[in-house]
């Protein structure tokens, strides 16, 4: 077992069993996350990024959703076979998550201090001069102004950026091994986004916490991540070091995504768009899922799902055109 790996996901399948059919939201996702690493998970809306994240925590949104196959190894232990009670001990302590919308992530009826107190242990509180004192310290760590007042305030009295700092503090207070950040800056103002990303980066550098950073913003990937995994229709189609993937995108979907990012150097050019729609997740094609939208599609793309082919150091993509044979 590799001691350097904080989280390893193997062949994860999470399906929604609905009346109109089985929606294969996550359909064979594998990746690993090293200690202290930031892995970006990118892809368009509905490609299964968030369901992947929730599957790792075993907090799927409803009963129709089930993780039917796979392993989620946190420090070598499979989370998918843990009991509910064990899982509660792991959540927040070993694996944690920051949600997308700070406006709704905090309970409107309780003070910030109250909600923070739930992630402060008794021992920590005794050592740190009481729960509230400890809560103030926690807020200080995420650089929230006037923490002494904040602990007594309610969520509606704080701005979105401040709330997201509180959510970050809640998620990271117990020093989890893995933090999942599901588009944590999407709902924030652009100026606040950068501050928040810098804060996350700073907090992470002092620990060996690994971050799974879910986003659809390549700018954020470039700033935050060490490696990136591109997801399409329930599967990861390309992974690699950020610089590698940016310079040499190998899957046509990744190429199209990068081509659709606006560039400052050529402001006059029309933005590139990807024609068509992703496949319906209840009725997935046998072959490559991007085939219908791919400019390079061939007969074998329809016949079978492409294997993973290595294109560089730690860089691989699932596309038949990369087949050396």
């Amino acid at each position: 077992m590799n001691g350097d790996i904080a989280l390893e996901v193997r062949d994860l399948h999470t399906h929604f069993f609905l009346r109109r059919g089985v929606v294969k939201a996550v359909d064979g996702v594998s990746f690993s996350l090293h200690r202290g690493e930031v892995l970006g998970l990118v892809g368009e809306s509905g490609c299964g990024k968030s369901v992947t994240a929730l599957s790792l925590l075993r907090l799927l949104p409803n009963e129709a959703a089930r993780t039917v196959q796979g392993q989620v190894l946190l420090d070598g232990e499979d989370l998918l076979v843990k009991s509910k009670r064990q899982m509660r001990q792991i959540r927040g302590r070993k694996i944690s998550m920051i949600l997308q919308d700070p406006q709704t992530s905090l309970n409107p009826l309780f003070t910030i201090g109250n909600q923070l107190s739930e992630v402060i242990s008794k021992i920590g509180a005794e050592r740190g001069g009481g729960v509230m004192q400890q809560a103030i310290e926690v807020l200080r760590k995420v650089k929230l102004s006037a923490p002494e007042q904040r602990v007594r305030q309610y969520p509606h009295e704080l701005s979105g950026g401040m709330k997201q700092r509180v959510v970050g503090a809640i998620a990271m207070n117990r020093g989890p091994r893995v933090l999942i950040a599901d588009e944590p800056t999407t709902a924030l103002d652009v100026t606040i986004q950068l501050q928040y990303l810098n804060l996350l980066k700073e907090l992470q550098e002092n620990t060996d916490m690994a971050i799974l950073f879910i986003t659809h913003d390549f700018g954020v990937v470039a700033r935050m991540c060490d490696r990136v995994a591109v997801m399409y229709a329930g599967r990861i189609v390309e992974t690699g070091p950020v610089r590698e993937v940016f310079n040499n995108p190998s899957h046509p979907y990744t190429q199209a995504l990068i081509a659709s990012v606006p560039k400052l150097k050529r402001p006059e050019a029309r933005l590139h768009t990807i024609e068509g729609q992703p496949p319906v997740l209840t009725d997935l094609p046998k072959g490559c899922r991007f085939e219908a939208r791919c400019p390079h599609a061939e007969a074998r793309c329809r016949a079978a799902y492409p294997d993973s082919f290595t294109v560089g150091a730690e860089h691989a993509a699932n596309c038949w055109r990369l087949d050396p044979a």
Binding site: L99, D101, T104, S105, N107, P108, H156, E157
Partner: protein, 305 residues
Amino acid sequence: MQGYIVRRLFQGVVLLVIVTTIVFAVGRLTGNPVDLLLPEEASEEERQAMIEALGLDGPVLEQFVVFIKGAVQGDLGVSIRYRQPAVDVFFSRLPNTLLLMPAAMLLAVFMAIPLGILSALRRGRLTDKVSGTIAVLGIATPNFWLGILLIYIFSVQLGWLPSSRMGDWSHYVLPTITLGTFLVAGFMRLIRSSMLDVLDSEFVKLARIKGLSEMRVVWKHCLRNALIPVLTLWGVFMGGLVTGTIVTETVYAWPGVGRLTYEAVIFRDYPLLQAVVIMDAVLILAINLVVDILYAYVDPRIRFT
């Protein structure tokens, strides 16, 4: 917070003035009570004397001014049937109703909250379906019929419980159930649906991410949020509760305000009826004020606006 209460009190006074005006107007529209109070063979002098005694001579506007003047001082006229001030009659009956109403409310709270939560947590399963069916029946059954049905089963057939009048605890069982059933059913469905909304919310997800126990997630993070819509509709339910006492107290011969209302209608004791309706309005407004204060206590977003 004080400003909030003062504002609510002021709104209550305005509402009360409107209610009083309507009650007064409706009282004049239903015909001359003298015709009903006196036997048919009464002479014109007797009629005239009665009209004067009741203050029904003079223009309507003048009558209204007199009525309002009296109302402000707590004088809502003299009951024709009891020959006592109507307000005194009302207050002599009020304690009996104030035993019944809270009993029904407590029944509603203790049944509806757990059942509503359980239905939401087991959405679509048997528990949910059974409680849903019972709730629909509870809302759909008129309480005069439920009252008679309960009397038939538990008093007449089984002989377990008394069918009328006040007495020891056993006298409370059937009236409380009769009065409380629609509250239980209404609250239960309301709590179920608001629970489902709350369970879906992001802060509940975060609470679970924190690794909190399911008990804590449900009772701390969900319930208080789920109760807000219940409090919002509390006023509506209170109106239903007050009108419910009219039927329930009549069916069970319960000497409360509800039965008094019924009697006032039957005997055309219109000063008493006016007094009862206005006092009921005061009662509902008072309950609503308490609920509004409670509302502010539960939801900090209200407290600070």
